[in-house]
Symmetry: C2
Subunit: 205 residues, 2 copies
């Protein structure tokens, strides 16, 4: 398996892939089928399983991404970084159906590279990527817009995520931190790290 | 409908309830049935719909919470604040099956109040609460551990979330910010807010 973007991008162990999603960051979902491709922002994503890594993304019926995911049976979930906030806001508010004569990659000059296991492109400059095969669940897709994927390859940029986890926050410049969508293109990014202590149970009365 | 915790806790409009989950914070899931009750931490949660507000939480088969959700057909999703990190880490690592002779509420002295629409208790001191009725999806629950809820009431503490959105970060002391789980009881909390600008598409070539 080749590494798509040397030298900083390294494979992520399957058992650690869920950690890319665990903090609830907004992601990009990219897809491609039969010469068409699209990418959208997705705040409504969730990890579902450690091994094999599974996740779900909520894809509105109006999106071109959804059409291409259904047609191709695969997609890529990428975790963008704060430096990409404009890109995330833009692909989150413009439909791939509305960039006449081209697609979002060309319309917004989005650098990308081929994935290793699926047809969907990898958007360059992100923190991490999960190449996913769709686990078809027609009722779930229709009734709740949820699409379940199994990650068949995962990658991360070691400047933000290495050895299976995010770097300590103090080692991560703000532009390399995750984006958490408040709404309308407004995001919060992590600013402090805290550890929850284990409380001791009191004796039953 | 009464307000569970006056004077700072106010109802959230149904169309704004999803915003409590949009940034991907870890939540608490509480449940009750036939005199038993439980509460657990859940990083794997996702909003699914604006109106009526829907969401999904991933509940492992080993959890008592899951058993009570299945039995009662309802649950509460609460968005805890950074000041509750110890509580979140604790109820996230101890099973309700392992606090012999009591439950987590008594074992860890968790203050709570009755909900208005469901039997599950509301953990006090959180940022917001979504009282949910389970939308039964047996295959989804069994195959992917996903439980879909429709929020039938929502509440938020105006010191963190008011008028349908989180307060500006500079108006929110760190202890009132959301918790985003890295793993093993380590959390990041928001530290900066940024706005993604809309990029202009370039003309098709």
């Amino acid at each position: 398996m080749h590494t798509p973007f040397p030298p900083h991008v390294l494979p992520v162990e399957p058992t650690h892939a869920y950690r890319l999603l665990n903090t609830g960051a907004s992601v990009l979902v990219s897809s491609a089928h039969a010469g068409r491709r699209d990418v959208m922002a997705c705040a409504w994503n969730v990890a579902l399983e450690f091994e094999p890594p599974k996740l779900a993304v909520c894809l509105d019926k109006a999106t071109l991404t959804r059409e291409l995911v259904e047609a191709s049976g695969s997609f890529v979930v990428a975790v963008p970084r704060a430096a990409q906030a404009d890109l995330v806001a833009t692909v989150g508010s413009v439909s791939g159906r509305d960039v006449a004569g081209q697609d979002k990659f060309s319309a917004f000059n989005i650098r990308h590279a081929p994935a290793t296991q699926v047809d969907a492109p990898l958007v360059e400059g992100c923190i991490g990527w999960l190449e996913c095969r769709l686990i078809p669940e027609p009722h779930l897709q229709q009734a709740h817009d949820l699409f379940i994927g199994q990650a068949v390859a995962a990658w991360a940029d070691e400047r933000a995520f290495a050895h299976g986890k995010f770097l300590a926050l103090e080692a991560t410049p703000p532009e390399w931190r995750t984006l958490h969508h408040l709404g309308a293109g407004n995001f919060v990014i992590p600013g402090a790290q805290i550890k929850g202590r284990q409380l001791a149970p009191r004796a039953p009365s």
